[in-house]
Symmetry: C2
Subunit: 195 residues, 2 copies
């Protein structure tokens, strides 16, 4: 998605060979018009997939997921993160390890909102090691719902998550795939160049 | 806002005389079309206020704030919540006590995104005791920016926050004011009935 890539080039901060900071439009400050275009793009790519629900995760997944939900005409659930493990019968839960924060969070979704007949589209802001997506997919399996695919705003193509998830036969659509941050420079994957 | 009140009446769960649960469209599952209408309504009420930034707080403030940002044509910042106090020079921070969780969280905003010449519109999902709004207003004061007003999706009119903030001369626009949850019934404030 050209508009997104231009925004990353203009405002993204390369902090190291593995860290890209996009706090000015996605992770702390949000650009609502860009989120709208991202939502439209996700909706276009999954318009024929029979989606009934979008599943995302707090906090940075919420804005792009809400916009995609608007254009697909479906509700959006955001999984909650909690540090303490509280056992409750009415929640689907999964553990998600954060390599950045070096801690495990429990994520959970109310059983009220995810049902067996749901066709679910997972949306998140970043895909790196894939831990959050694995947790969300786990929750969809617990609900016995159908996973339609995964939509990612920015994928770090040089980390293992994307390849691992695609190897499971899951459709992953990333609007920008960053293949390298070496020498302080953002290099996008070629196959995405025309999109 | 009639559409919002009807949604509260249809889907809100009164758990006690003080607790209203709206997990099906605002706090866990999100209704994107309702969020769009909420965004338009906030934009309409503040269209002549010269707003340059919206300030909200993770997580449930993000969806309505992003939609308001879209229709006002301004960026949205969401304050981050953290349990541990990490001193950093590049953040504005404030403490917010949660009566529900009985804990104090530090909320913070990067100094990069809030400037002296900003005219700021604070948006949050709920207003009860007003702790979150007080923290956000504190951060705006630290940045020496101008506070234009506060937009709330659901105000609990029977708790002190709204009155206290209005007494400071701050404009507060709540799209639905709940004056009582007694006997398991949601009663809205009369003055809002026609909106």
């Amino acid at each position: 998605m050209e508009q997104l890539k231009n925004k990353i080039l203009a405002e993204g901060k390369v902090l190291s060979d593995t860290v890209l900071k996009v706090d000015s439009f996605l992770n702390h400050q949000i650009d609502p018009e860009l989120m709208q275009e991202i939502g439209k793009e996700f909706a276009k790519r999954f318009e024929d997939a029979g989606i009934t629900k979008i599943l995302s995760i707090e906090s940075s997944g919420i804005a792009p997921a809400t916009m995609a939900g608007l254009y697909l005409g479906v509700p959006v659930i955001f999984a909650r993160k909690r540090k303490s493990l509280t056992l409750t019968d009415d929640l689907y839960s999964a553990n998600v390890y954060s390599f950045t924060k070096k801690e495990t969070n429990e994520i959970s979704v109310s059983k009220d909102f995810l049902k067996k007949d749901d066709v679910v589209f997972v949306i998140d802001d970043f895909l790196a090691n894939g831990q959050a997506v694995h947790g969300l997919v786990d929750i969809i399996r617990q609900a016995e719902a159908t996973l339609s695919g995964v939509g990612i705003v920015i994928e770090k193509g040089f980390q293992a998550g994307g390849a691992e998830i695609r190897e499971q036969g899951i459709r992953v659509e990333s609007l920008a795939i960053v293949d390298s941050l070496e020498n302080g420079e953002v290099r996008f994957r070629d196959e995405e160049a025309g999109k």
